[in-house]
């Protein structure tokens, strides 16, 4: 269970702070909608630890997260873009998600190759991100987040800007994750995303 209690945050020039208060049961998907600037991305950044809240608490299975650094939180994020390090190849990009210094066992290397084949990108390990299409890049990012095996998946408009086919592939992958028990927080203004994935809708 993810419990967010009275979590407040304001940017310096903002007069009235945001206040978030909600909970999500394990294995469910909460979809967040709202106009741009309503605080969707801010909320996801707070959960991931990129921003520090002014007050309030974030608990996952009873454990307080709000004071942990990003790397120690049981979360993984997929953004709309900039999910990959442009100067590193696909395999390295994924491998750095499994170990921050790329110290992997042979089994983990095989796991990455198998994963690439599963998301329809067999043998793409040596490609550079700049050579991939938007949909392919998002599949790599999603593959990395699934291989990290974190129980909380934060999705910030992950399908925006992709063509229909790529969106369909990504939705299937996300449904797999949900079925495997991963908790999803999805910020999206796509009606279809919410219908397919979300158990609950929340309009900010």
């Amino acid at each position: 269970m993810l419990e967010v209690r009275q979590l407040t945050f304001a940017y310096p020039e903002q007069s009235e702070p945001w206040c978030f208060d909600f909970q999500v049961p394990p294995g469910q998907c909460l979809a967040i909608t709202g106009a741009s600037g309503a605080g969707k991305s801010t909320l996801l950044s707070l959960l991931a630890g990129f921003l520090r809240p002014a007050s309030g608490s974030i608990r996952w299975r009873g454990e307080a997260l709000e004071s942990l650094p990003p790397a120690e939180r049981p979360v993984t994020s997929v953004f709309q873009e900039h999910n990959l390090f442009e100067h590193l190849d696909v395999h390295t990009n994924i491998a750095l998600g499994l170990h921050p210094g790329k110290k992997l066992s042979a089994g983990q290397h095989r796991e990455i190759d198998a994963g690439l084949a599963r998301v329809g990108l067999p043998g793409f390990g040596k490609r550079m991100p700049g050579e991939l299409s938007g949909g392919q890049r998002q599949r790599v990012a999603l593959l990395r987040s699934t291989l990290r095996k974190q129980p909380l998946l934060l999705l910030d408009e992950p399908l925006t800007g992709l063509d229909d086919q790529a969106q369909a592939v990504m939705r299937t992958l996300l449904l797999e994750q949900k079925a495997a028990g991963v908790t999803l927080i999805l910020a999206s203004h796509h009606e279809e995303d919410r219908q397919v994935l979300a158990d609950r809708n929340w309009n900010l």
């Binding site: 950044s45 999910n83 210094g101």
Partner: protein
């Protein structure tokens, strides 16, 4: 690290002040010699700045107007050369062209005997300064001109602005911003110029402070006078840079490595294009003649085998030069990295302190720093190797402002999404350096290394102070050969020094590429070029 640099500078300066009891400030305006030296230093520097800018402005304008012609990028690269070209080599080239027996001099004396051209004295000093700083200034001004936003340039060509209005509306505002920093840079370089004045200066009437300090230290052993002169020099350079930095420095000290990509339709009329072309041609001849002289006169000398025989003077000097320059490059890069890293992640005032510390070597000329340390460590120094160690450190400091500029952009180029991602994946500390910074930094690092090594290889000022004539570095050897009229040997040494420099740059360029980065992928995934380099 910033503290260490400031400490090093302060200890040098306090050693100077510690000599203060002996110094007689009144001497400064009572002694005709000293008055003359100060006056001449400022006068030749001012003249050099004005003439350099007068050469640079039309050249930069011409290059900004003529955007496409064969050899343009080669010309731009050539203009960067003056940043690392050893002064003493360029001087030997200038002597071959403009000296007593020079190519041009002979010709001029035939046609215009009334001119009475003499390279030695203020003529040669200013000529050499313009030769060095004109191209550099033109390159930096061109950068400012090319930075004018494209829509504005399009608008100007659509309106068909006349040359004068183009200048007023577009070019002058762009140039005005970089002019103070550029002027200060050239002034400092000319004001503290050493090798050029040593070789082309003639007697007491054409001596700068820098040379006077050297003479006081090495020949007259008058430390009080050296301290006094160093303080005067520091006062002038320090207040100049303080003024410039206080207003915020937005001048690149070194040209960027990337050239502007966009190509605009040339709007200049046919006649003005012709004029620009002639201007550029003249400029190229001005730049190339001395280099050509170095090459053609040096080649026969290098051809003979005994030059490189084991134990020959040239080989000896080469090894000594490399022993000083290679570590100096390392010092420069390491200190620059530490300064930049410290400046990046801390408080505002701390950032400014450590960045300003990087400019300190410009404010406190190396010879002044050297003088202080010389006085401080004098008892221990003799013909020992510790002197050379000190030369390495000071050489490294000299390169600091330029190396920092090469490294600053790429080191801070990690964007927010990448930073967040790295935070989440736990790529911190060493891992972050290894996987995120190192791949982007290796080329700038290699370039910074090459700058550091290059500047130290060509250094003649600091080594003249600490070195011993019996154990010369390459620039010292060249100076000795020039002084004893061994023209052929000098030409060979000069060419050899240039070849060595080019090798250093080529090797580090290769090092920047090798490894996992395959150049084949370059067009698809550009590694960010240094923004300020």
């Amino acid at each position: 690290m910033a503290a260490a640099i400031i400490l090093l500078t302060l200890s040098g300066l306090s050693a100077l002040l510690w000599q203060a009891p002996v110094l007689e400030v009144a001497e400064l305006w009572q002694s005709r010699y000293l008055r003359g030296v100060v006056h001449f230093s400022i006068w030749q520097a001012l003249l050099s700045v004005i003439l350099s800018l007068l050469v640079a402005l039309p050249v930069a304008r011409a290059l900004a107007q003529l955007r496409v012609f064969p050899g343009r990028s080669l010309l731009l690269r050539l203009m960067e050369l003056s940043l690392v070209m050893p002064t003493i080599v360029a001087v030997s080239g200038l002597i071959s062209v403009y000296g007593r027996q020079g190519w041009l001099t002979v010709w001029v004396q035939d046609w215009l005997p009334a001119l009475g051209w003499n390279l030695y004295g203020i003529n040669g000093i200013v000529l050499a300064h313009v030769f060095f700083n004109g191209p550099l200034a033109a390159r930096i001004l061109l950068q400012a001109l090319e930075a004018v936003p494209q829509p504005q340039q399009r608008l100007a060509s659509q309106l068909g602005l006349s040359s004068w209005w183009r200048w007023r509306a577009l070019e002058w505002p762009a140039i005005r911003a970089v002019l103070p920093g550029l002027g200060a840079l050239i002034f400092t370089l000319c004001f503290t110029s050493f090798a050029i004045v040593m070789t082309l200066g003639g007697g007491p009437s054409a001596t700068t402070l820098e040379v006077a300090i050297y003479q006081a230290l090495r020949f007259e052993f008058d430390f009080g006078r050296a301290a006094l002169l160093a303080m005067v020099q520091l006062l002038i350079c320090g207040s100049l840079w303080w003024g410039v930095l206080r207003k915020g420095l937005n001048t690149d000290l070194a040209p960027q490595r990337t050239f502007a990509q966009h190509q605009l339709f040339v709007t200049a009329s046919r006649t003005s294009r012709l004029l620009y072309g002639l201007l550029l041609a003249g400029f190229v001849v001005f730049m190339l003649l001395p280099l050509l002289a170095v090459v053609t006169r040096g080649l026969p000398g290098l051809w003979s085998t005994e030059v490189f025989a084991p134990g020959s003077a040239l080989l000896d000097a080469t090894l000594r030069s490399l022993a000083i320059a290679l570590p100096a490059g390392g010092v420069a890069v390491l200190v620059a990295l530490l300064l930049l890293a410290a400046g990046h992640r801390s408080h505002r005032w701390f950032t400014r302190t450590s960045e300003a510390a990087g400019y300190l070597p410009l404010m406190v000329p190396p010879l002044v720093l050297g003088t202080g340390l010389f006085l401080l460590l004098r008892p221990q120094l003799g013909a020992s190797n510790e002197g050379l160690l000190l030369v390495t450190v000071i050489n490294g400091m000299m390169a600091l402002p330029f190396v920092m500029q090469v490294l600053r952009g790429p080191l801070h180029s990690l964007d927010t999404p990448s930073r967040n991602l790295a935070d989440q994946l736990g790529i911190l500390g060493w891992y972050r350096w290894r996987w995120l910074h190192w791949p982007r930094m290796r080329r700038p690092l290699a370039l910074g290394m090459a700058y550091g090594i290059g500047l130290s290889l060509g250094d003649f000022g600091v080594i003249a102070l600490f070195g011993t004539p019996g154990k010369p570095t390459l620039p010292m050897l060249l100076y000795q050969q020039l002084g004893s009229y061994q023209i052929h040997a000098a030409a060979a040494t000069g060419l050899w020094l240039v070849l060595l420099l080019l090798t250093v740059f080529a090797v580090f360029n290769l090092l920047g590429w090798s490894g996992s980065q395959r150049p084949r992928l370059f067009p698809l995934t550009p590694i960010p070029e240094p923004r300020h380099a």
